[in-house]
């Protein structure tokens, strides 16, 4: 697996995948929806899969002395690595804005209201939705890609749209101040003792969904890949 991951990083992974993973740092940008980086990360995988197809990576890999399912495993681990990298970048940016006073803390003290920003701030709940978004994206895109003989465009569009839905909902609910749904908004975008449990539940729910769907998708795709005639 070590060698296959080396192959992924030396040959298969397009530089743009690295660039888009760093877009987690976009949370530093004031007045900009924090969830947008997720869509960039999702779309960046088109570079990875399109590049692999153009470079005949599947054939190159299939001729090596490795198990066929390990080819899928290496690709899944690469995706995992970049999704996690983007989340770490976003977390670093989110925590930094907290200390800089224009992130969630700003909203809590009622001075800046998310730094004057829009949508959901980088709270624990936000990251729960990010995990959920990636979970949906991975399940839809990877299952469609491997089960439909490496189709790319339709799976990418469909999975990105469906994957981004939870974040759109989060953005909407987080912007309900002054409406009857203000309590939901409060739970999602304020860092305080009374919101901690709700946010922790969303965060853990997001991670749990991500992990479970990741394994289920891997087993399904690996099984399919082993049966495909190349």
């Amino acid at each position: 697996m070590k060698n296959l991951l080396y192959k992924e990083f030396m040959l298969a992974i397009h530089p743009m995948v690295w660039v888009f993973a760093l877009f987690g740092l976009m949370i530093f940008i004031p007045n900009y929806p924090n969830s947008v980086f997720v869509i960039y990360v999702m779309m960046s995988f088109i570079f990875l899969f399109q590049g692999s197809r153009e470079n005949n990576d599947t054939f190159y890999s299939a001729l090596l002395p490795i198990k066929k399912r390990d080819i899928v495993k290496a690709r899944f681990l690469s995706i995992l690595a970049f999704e996690m990298l983007s989340i770490i970048m976003a977390a670093v940016a989110g925590i930094s804005t907290y200390f800089m006073g224009y992130g969630p803390m700003g909203k809590q003290i009622g001075s800046l209201s998310n730094g004057g920003g829009v949508g959901i701030p980088p709270t624990l709940a936000f990251f729960g939705f990010v995990f959920l978004a990636f979970a949906i994206f991975n399940s839809v895109f990877l299952n469609m890609h491997y089960h439909q003989k490496f189709r790319m465009l339709v799976p990418m569009i469909l999975s990105s749209v469906l994957g981004y839905l939870p974040l759109i909902l989060a953005e909407i609910f987080a912007s309900m101040q002054g409406t009857p749904l203000e309590s939901i908004s409060h739970q999602l975008d304020v860092v305080a003792n009374d919101t901690l449990v709700c946010q922790l539940l969303i965060f853990l729910g997001g991670i749990g969904t991500y992990v479970v769907s990741f394994f289920l998708t891997y087993f399904s795709c690996a099984k399919k890949f082993e049966r495909i005639d190349l």
Partner: protein
């Protein structure tokens, strides 16, 4: 010299519009086998089915005496497959590609690799797309020999090469077999290549092996006549595998045992090209006319 490194028995694979039917043949150590057939006859499908790139419906493949599938990873350490030239990672430098590839092989020999690069005049700083078709095959051979593969399976390695490059490559094949004791199975539809270096011929037609034997034996199974049309030809033409007649000139291929002796024509042993053309012509004759 006589042990089989590759033994394919009753390989079957069915597609909606094509079928491999009971493909069986064997490759001996130190042998060059030409795997021949027209385009679409099933050469690539056979190679892919042998090595689990596509999944055969049935059949067994023994590789160095052990079932290929049961010991796939160990077997692939000793196997090199080249499917239609290296067309992967065209923009990557050879040195990067080699750096990645070598990590997968337990017996990688760096010294040998360096020697082979020199011998084949390969510049590691070149990108794959900058190599000529012949150089790409040489690079694949360098990789194969550096991980001590003893069976090289090359699908159409000489296609697209000029006659000089083809000749050079065939000479390399001969040297590899003599010096490195490797065995080579190479598929081709350029039959003149086989005349130059093949020890054995395996002929596939519409997914079925119709002959697998020594080059001379294969050719000696057939007789060819050429001449003016005559009453004799009218009498014997039904015995021919196929024939061509135009403006009173005739050409016909016979199975040796079916050739009716006569004084009009002087039969001779044809070259593989002629055999292939007339075998396939027969096949075309069997199809309904347009």
């Amino acid at each position: 010299m006589n042990s089989n490194v590759l033994e394919v028995t009753n390989l079957n694979k069915k597609y909606p519009s094509f079928e491999l039917k009971d493909v069986s043949f064997s490759l001996k150590q130190g042998e060059i086998m030409g795997f021949v057939g027209r385009n679409g006859a099933g050469k690539t499908t056979t190679i892919k089915s042998m090595f689990n790139i596509v999944h055969p419906d049935s059949g067994t493949v023994l590789f160095n005496g052990v079932p290929f599938l049961d010991h796939e990873l160990e077997n692939k350490q000793k196997l090199s497959i080249l499917l239609g030239g290296i067309d992967y990672y065209p923009k990557t430098k050879l040195k990067t590609l080699s750096k990645v590839t070598k990590r997968f092989y337990k017996d990688w020999d760096e010294t040998k690799y360096a020697l082979l690069l020199k011998r084949f005049s390969l510049d590691e700083n070149k990108r794959v797309q900058e190599l000529s078709a012949g150089m790409k095959v040489k690079y694949s051979l360098a990789i194969a020999l550096s991980h001590h593969a003893n069976v090289l399976v090359l699908d159409e390695p000489t296609s697209g090469l000029d006659p000089i490059s083809r000749d050079e490559l065939l000479e390399i094949f001969e040297k590899l077999v003599d010096e490195e004791k490797v065995s080579i199975l190479f598929s081709t539809h350029i039959t003149s290549d086989l005349e130059k270096c093949a020890d054995t011929i395996t002929y596939i037609q519409q997914g079925k092996i119709i002959a697998s034997k020594g080059l001379k034996d294969f050719k000696n199974d057939y007789l060819f006549i050429k001449g003016e049309e005559s009453d004799t030809f009218t009498k014997i033409k039904d015995k021919a595998i196929s024939y061509h007649s135009r403006h009173n000139d005739i050409e016909a291929l016979f199975k040796k045992e079916d050739y009716p002796s006569n004084d009009t024509y002087t039969p001779y042993v044809p070259d593989i090209d002629t055999i292939m053309v007339y075998l396939e012509r027969k096949n075309a004759n069997e199809e309904p006319s347009i």
